[in-house]
Every structure is written in structure tokens, then in C-alpha cells.
């Protein structure tokens, strides 16, 4: 087996005088899918932000086997979609900024946004806005995907498509790390933050 792409050692983070997590240890390889779980406020978002380098106040070590930023596809809690821009403009900007390749229109079509390409995002529903952001997953050129709550606001049909896309990407050697309150699927590694209480939803 090849060396881990990501190695986390003794990771701890404090916010607002509260220790979110401490002594976190794990390593993840290309081709794996990881789901981060935990109650509201457990620190899932914070952990992802530490991994991508947006949050710098932590103890312990986070090591990527190769520079992260050229490989990274990060989707934050907020989808990063500006309401004034159309679906295509939004996607083309993020594509240029991150240096991805592939056809934006095809990606939008894959997310059922065919026909909505030129509508300002502000006039789309919340779910459709998130789909614009998710369309980046249908572009090429990134092999570490870090996704914060990718399934939020997406309907059942969309959830299935997205799940399938993640598995397909992992097969092609992408390391996928995402947070979600959904049930953890087969073949997905689980990283739980906080006490291990099953929370009813």
C-alpha cells in the first residue's frame, strides 16, 4: 500500500475557551472516502478548515505528502456562489481560480441545471445554488476533495447522484473527506468528533 496522502498527529483545537477535539490521530490515502461526523458544534467544520489551511490555530501536526493547494478541491459550509452571477459565471470563475479543467456546461447539466446556466444564482432555490457549487466535482484535475456538508439542501435524487460521484472519484484515486449528518455508507471510513452518542434527528 502506498504512503498516506494525509497524516494527522495529536491534533487539538480550542475555540472560545472550549477544547473541540484533542489528540486526533489518523492518516488517509488516495482512493479512500472519509466521513467526519459529530454533533452540532463538535468541530467538524473547524477540522476541515484546519486541513485545508484556513484555520491556523491548533496544536499538533497536519502533514500532506505533497503540496496540497494544486490538488485541492475545497467546498466550504457556504457554497461560495455569488447571487449576482449566473450559474455559468460562478462555475467558470471557480474553475479559473482553482485551475480545474473540463466543460462547465456539461458539469452543470450533470447536476440537472441544464437550462439554468444563464439565470443569476440569486433567482435559483437554495438547493440549486448548492448544485452550482457541487458542479465543480464534475470538473477534472483535483485529487483531494474536502467537502463540508455536501449533501445539505440536496434532494434524494441528488444525494444518490452525488454519492455515486464520490465513489467513482475514489476509484480513480481521489481522496475524499466530507462531513455529513447522514448515515455513514459502506466502504466509507468514519471519523467521529466528540462523545459517541447517537443523536436523533
Amino acid at each position: 500500500m502506498d504512503a498516506p496522502r494525509l497524516t494527522v498527529r495529536q491534533l487539538g483545537c480550542e475555540r472560545d475557551h472550549r477544547m473541540l477535539f484533542e489528540y486526533l490521530d489518523f492518516s488517509a490515502r488516495n482512493g479512500e472516502i472519509w466521513q467526519v461526523t459529530g454533533a452540532n458544534g463538535a468541530g467538524k467544520t473547524t477540522l476541515l478548515r484546519i486541513l485545508v489551511g484556513l484555520h491556523g490555530f491548533y496544536q499538533g501536526r497536519v502533514e500532506w505528502s505533497a503540496p496540497l493547494s494544486p490538488s485541492l478541491l475545497y467546498l466550504g459550509h457556504q457554497p461560495g456562489v455569488r447571487e449576482e452571477l449566473t450559474a455559468r459565471e460562478n462555475l467558470e470563475y471557480s474553475r479559473a481560480l482553482s485551475g480545474q479543467t473540463g466543460d462547465p456546461d456539461a458539469a452543470l447539466a450533470a447536476l440537472d441545471l441544464y437550462g439554468f446556466e444563464d439565470v443569476p444564482a440569486g433567482r435559483l432555490s437554495a438547493g440549486q445554488q448548492r448544485r452550482i457549487a457541487l458542479a465543480r466535482l464534475w470538473l477534472d484535475g483535483k485529487d483531494v476533495w474536502i467537502l463540508d456538508e455536501p449533501f445539505t439542501a440536496i434532494d434524494q435524487h441528488g444525494v444518490a447522484a452525488l454519492d455515486q460521484r464520490l465513489r467513482q472519484a475514489a476509484e480513480q484515486g481521489v481522496l475524499v473527506i466530507y462531513t455529513s449528518h447522514h448515515r455513514v455508507g459502506d466502504g466509507v471510513q468514519r471519523l467521529h468528533l466528540g462523545e459517541d452518542i447517537e443523536v436523533a434527528r
Binding site: 493547494s69 485541492l72 457556504q78 457554497p79 461560495g80 479559473a96 481560480l97 457549487a133
Partner: protein, 228 residues
Amino acid sequence: MSAPSLGTVWRASLRRELTLIWRSPADIVQPLFFFVVVVSLFPLALSPKPALLALVAPGAVWVAALLAVMLSLDGLFRRDQESGALDLLLTAPVVSVVPVAAKLLAHWLLTGLPLALIAPLLGYMLQLPVAVLDTLMVSVLLGTPTLTVVGAIGAALTVGLNRGGILLAVLVLPLYVPVLVFGAGVVRTALDGLPTGGLLAVLGAILALAVSLGPVAVALGLRISAGD
């Protein structure tokens, strides 16, 4: 894996920023309107004696321009931050200075530049002699980019805090002093009929400093606000 070329990022960013501002024209009109309103407050607050007005005009126009730029900066990064687009920018595989600089340029083109273009008109309304109106315009033209850049540092540092514009004002106004002193100073000097070349050169030097170091500071400020 794949990283984009700086040129691509620069062009894509600039196009996006211009489109954004263009789509909500209020963002262009409001600072301009504020500028005009504040300048018109002065003749009301002072007496409308032409001689006095002309003396006050350089300062009034400059103070108003400064406040207009500052207030317009309050929202510079806010919507990008709320929508998460800022995180996208900060995690992109290019130095974030490039898209940040594009943002600053777009902002200046669509707020600072209009201010400079309308400044002579306001100067005329404040009874400035026609001969100094071009100096007024040049000074505002040279000064506003610095105001944009320096103010953007403050906006970057306060982007996550929903305190309204007053914290930004408190941080940024003291930093605006040099531009104000030289900017208004140039016009006063022209009013006195003295040569303004030296002062304009200083204004230009400050501009060069701000434009070369400013975007780096702004990008750093955004990183800090994001939590790094």
C-alpha cells in the same frame, strides 16, 4: 496536479469583479451620491460666502471623498465572505494577491475613478477658481487608489465582524491622514498659485508604496480574518 497561470486568474478575477459591481449599480451610484451630498452639506453648514467657500473647498472635497471611499469599502469583502467565495479564493493554488489585486482594481475603477471625474464639478460648485480644478482632479485621481488599498486592509481585518462601518472608520481614518494632507495640500498650493509638482510627486510616491505593498497586506488580512 493542476494549477492555473497567473494571467488566467487575473483575467478571470477582473472580469468577475467588474461583472459583480456592474450587476448591482447601486454600489457605484451610492458612493458618488454620498460624495455629492456630503460636499453639498458644507455650504449649508458654513456660510455660503464664495471667498470662504473657496478656501474650504479643497478640504471639503477631500474629506468627503475620503469618507465616501471608506464607506464603500465596508462591503468590499462582506458578500464574498458570507457566500463562502472568500474561502475559495484563499484555498486556490495561486497566491491570493492576484485575485485580491483584481478586486481592488475593479473597485477603484468603478468608485474611485468616478469620484475623481466628478470632483471638479463639486469644486466648481464650492467656488474654486477654474484654474485649479484640473489640479483637484489629478490629486483625487492620485489619492483615491491609496484610499482604496489602505481602506481595504481595514475591511479585510473587519470582514467577519458585524459591527457596521464604524469600527472600520476608526481603524482606517487615521491611516488616511497622509493622503488627506498631501491631497488637499496640493489643491491649496495651486490656489496660492505655487507650483504643485513636488507635492504631486509625493502623492504619487505614496500611491506607488500603497499599490505595491497594499495588496499583499490585504491578502494577509483576509487570511487572518479567515482564522489563520
